[in-house]
């Protein structure tokens, strides 16, 4: 499968600050790729280099095998949402899309299509200056969809959307991917990716710290851990600790146990008459997996090994 976006060894400095430090990854068509990492990890800079807005000191970024700046009618190749606030306030939503359409040789009909697609039909002839952040995000997404591009790049598209909007954009991005498009979505919040992305590129300190499918990432973070639900939390903790397990409290009646397999836990609890309602292999949330990775990335290792398990 031909990569829709190829990022190869990007390096960039702003004075003494290293923004990109060998950033490399590819984005494939047919799936939603989440581009996550803490603020300052280099996500936005990478996207701007891909889009030809910034120049990297080293490395290259290709879209459909070509640098963005060499594309003809680029909005028909890549649709991008970078900054939803970038609007002339006195221009109407429709006219904002109209000039973009004209720049690519597209007509007003396509504008009306995308404006309906993002649900702004009713306010199309209103000044964009009066739009809420959520409406601006939708307008920005309409602009990205305008050229019906095979590649979409959205920087923090969920910002400012209400819950209905969040559900809508998840569905939209998944359906765009299902049509065979490559979709790259950045976010600094892992939770936003949970039901949206198929694949994740996790960035930290200007490079990629993980490039994996969502399922693999969660499995890795869940490795060997068991979730125990019990009404007798102190007793259970004591019994299991005596047997050499590491136990972390997840909430009032839930514990995460590592170092013992599930069968052994059931046997121990039965032998000591500790009541429990559920023993299950732990499935880490994406957030937990991300926290683990981020910790590595920002080099904030826990000082005590016992605190190594995620507890939130």
């Amino acid at each position: 499968m031909r990569a829709a976006i190829e990022v190869i060894g990007l390096r960039k400095r702003y004075g003494p600050t290293v923004a990109l430090d060998g950033m490399s990854f590819t984005v494939l068509p047919g799936r939603v790729t989440g581009f996550v990492g803490p603020n300052g990890a280099g996500k936005s800079t990478t996207m701007r280099v891909i889009l030809g807005l910034d120049t990297a000191d080293e490395g290259s970024a290709l879209v459909g095998g070509r640098p963005y700046r060499s594309l003809r009618a680029p909005l028909c190749q890549v649709g991008a949402l970078l900054d939803a606030a970038a609007l002339q306030p006195s221009r109407t939503a429709r006219n904002h899309l109209l000039w973009l359409a004209h720049s690519q040789g597209l007509g007003a009909r396509r504008v009306d299509e995308v404006i309906e697609q993002v649900g702004l039909g009713a306010v199309a002839r209103r000044r964009a200056g009066g739009f809420s952040l959520g409406m601006r995000q939708r307008l920005g997404i309409a602009a990205a969809l305008l050229g019906d591009p095979p590649v979409l790049m959205l920087d923090e598209p969920v910002n400012g959307l209400d819950p209905v909007g969040i559900v809508w954009i998840r569905g939209l991005l998944r359906s765009l991917a299902a049509e065979g498009r490559a979709v790259l979505v950045s976010s600094h919040l892992m939770s936003e990716m949970q039901d949206m992305a198929d694949h994740l590129v996790v960035a930290g300190r200007g490079r990629v710290v993980a490039d994996t499918s969502v399922a693999d990432l969660i499995a890795a973070a869940s490795d060997g851990r068991v979730t125990l639900r019990t009404t007798a939390r102190p007793e259970a903790m004591e019994v299991l600790a005596r047997a050499g397990a590491r136990v972390a409290v997840q909430d009032r009646d839930t514990l995460t146990v590592s170092g013992l397999e599930a069968g052994r836990i059931v046997a121990l609890l039965g032998a000591n008459d500790v009541p429990f309602s559920e023993v299950a292999a732990h499935r880490a949330s994406l957030e937990e997996a991300y926290m683990e990775l981020s910790r590595d990335a920002v080099e904030f290792r826990a000082t005590t090994p016992g605190d190594g398990t995620a507890t939130s």
Partner: protein, 527 residues
């Protein structure tokens, strides 16, 4: 699934086509911001309203004796305003022929500023463009077509015709010790002027084809002496110009007229004080010329000038609102680019047009075209209507050819376009609206105001109008500077140091330079 990464798009497949789309996009951007469209309309309205209002407020009348009349101008065969006053001693010549004379001397008197108030301070002397020579003219009507060859006081021998045309012959004047022979030959529609130091060896001064010369013309000797010009500097840097009476007297002999001359034998010479003005009452000539003849020697005294006239209002004086209109255009042009930088919209533009110079070039094309249309509308309304109002109010407005009027109107449009491009480029360089408008106004409007408001010495004012973008205002000068007319050709009086197109080229040079710098800056920096 893989096919979707290689969607083939038919849009902008070639570069020129893509650029057309970018221009279309920039035009859409412009027209969809109401404030910008309104700003351009305000610019046009300012020029039209201020121009027509000042024309409507300008009234003039002239007196013909006791009767008040509208001020009229004498016009030459080319339609331009002329001064046509001289003393003419002539005979009628039918068909081809020639006239030959010897000019023996030229003397005169000049009235200087009164040393004692009320007492005429007249000294002997001749002004540089005092003229004595021979002429062939379509009658004695003021403004009639002619050709002449003459000796001047300081500018040597000249061949002139139809007021605006002037060719230099040999240098030097005449004095009793060194006379000058002159000859004017008619052959069909062509006249040839000759000069000679000895009456035997003749040198061609030039040839002329006057616009309207009938078969029968008046041929003879003439003398004219333009007013003496004094320029004194005012306290505030301005200048006041005084023109005072002069007259010149020339002595001619060895007069020979060849061809079919009316009353060849025993015929007499007629004489006319062409264009003489009259004292109040309309009977007595004011500063009359005169002549005497004795034994073939003619002594002729003349007052006035045979030359183009620049006394009167200009059509471009109706453009009094132009500076205000240009400022409105500058503001719009600057905002057209700085608004994008302020809102981050510039990045969206670059996503649509990643090759940076092209995006800016498209913007330049649009603002230039919009400003050209605005300038054209403003000038095409203001100049003809304003001139009509001025004339209806009795003002003498110097007539110009249709071509010149079109050049002024189109020139104002081009000037407006160039100023808009300069403003756009400065906006892209400075990126802050107020600062950019200040810079452009400081480059274009301020030097023009300083140079034309008589606050600077003449030399400084002229250099400002050569070196700064304000040079472009030269394109609206409708009446040229005439080398053969001594005048106070100052920017204040509407005379620019550069020719119209050269001045416009200076402005366009600045605009192009700024645009290139802006494009370079844009293509180098991260967006």
């Amino acid at each position: 699934m893989t096919d979707s990464t290689t969607v083939v798009t038919g849009h902008g497949a070639n570069g020129r086509d893509g650029f057309r789309h970018l221009v279309h996009a920039e035009w859409t951007k412009f027209r969809t911001v109401r404030g910008w469209v309104a700003g351009m309309a305000v610019g046009v309205a300012l020029v039209v309203a201020l121009g027509l209002m000042s024309a409507a407020g300008s009234h003039a009348s002239c007196g013909m004796g006791d009767v008040e009349t509208a001020c009229t101008l004498t016009t030459g065969p080319g339609g331009e305003a002329v001064s046509d006053r001289f003393f003419f001693v002539h005979r009628r010549l039918d068909g081809d022929g020639s006239i030959t004379v010897r000019v023996d001397s030229m003397t005169g008197q000049i009235r200087l500023p009164d040393a004692t108030p009320g007492v005429r301070n007249v000294v002997a002397g001749v002004v540089p463009w005092a003229k004595a020579g021979i002429m062939v003219k379509d009658g004695v009507r003021e403004g009639a077509s002619y050709a002449a060859v003459m000796v001047t006081a300081r500018h040597g021998v000249r061949m002139q015709h139809d007021f605006t045309e002037d060719v230099a012959g040999g240098p030097g004047g005449v004095s009793p010790g060194s006379p000058r022979w002159l000859r004017l030959t008619r052959s069909g529609g062509t006249l040839t002027g000759y000069e000679s130091d000895d009456g035997r060896r003749w040198i061609v001064v030039g040839t002329a084809r006057p616009a309207r010369l009938p078969a029968t013309v008046e041929a003879g000797m003439f003398v004219a002496s333009p007013g003496d010009l004094t320029v004194s500097r005012g306290n505030l840097g301005g200048a006041s110009v005084q023109v005072r009476f002069t007259e010149a007297t020339a002595v001619f002999d060895q007069v020979r007229l060849e061809g079919r001359v009316e009353g060849r034998t025993g015929g007499t010479w007629s004489h006319d004080d062409v264009g003489v003005a009259y004292e109040p009452g309309g009977r007595t000539p004011h500063h009359p010329g005169r002549f005497t003849e004795s034994g073939g020697t003619f002594t002729i005294t003349g007052v006035g000038d045979v030359a183009p006239s620049t006394e009167g209002m200009r059509i471009e004086s109706t453009l009094s609102g132009q500076a205000a209109g240009l400022v409105a255009v500058m503001v719009v042009a600057v905002l057209f680019v700085t608004a994008e930088h302020r809102r981050g919209l510039f990045r969206t533009t670059l996503l649509a047009a990643p090759r940076r110079g092209r995006a800016f070039a498209a913007k330049t094309v649009v603002i230039g075209a919009v400003a050209f249309a605005a300038g054209l509308t403003a000038a095409a309304l203001t100049v003809p209507l304003g001139a009509r109002i001025l004339r209806a109010n009795g003002n003498a407005v110097l007539p110009v050819s249709t071509f010149t009027e079109l050049r002024v109107v189109a020139g104002v449009a081009a000037l407006t376009a160039a100023v808009a491009v300069l403003a756009l480029a400065c906006g892209a360089l400075v990126r802050r609206g107020a600062a950019a408008v200040t810079v452009v106004a400081g480059l274009v409007v301020v030097p023009h105001i300083l140079a034309t408001a008589s606050v600077l010495p003449l030399g400084v004012a002229r250099w400002l109008l050569r070196l700064t973008p304000a040079a472009g205002f030269a394109v609206q000068q409708s009446v040229p500077e005439y080398a053969q007319v001594l005048g106070y050709y100052s920017p204040q009086g509407g005379y620019y140091p550069l020719p119209p197109l050269a001045g416009l080229a200076v402005l366009c040079g600045y605009a192009a330079l700024a645009a290139v710098l802006a494009a370079v800056r844009m293509s180098r920096a991260d967006a």
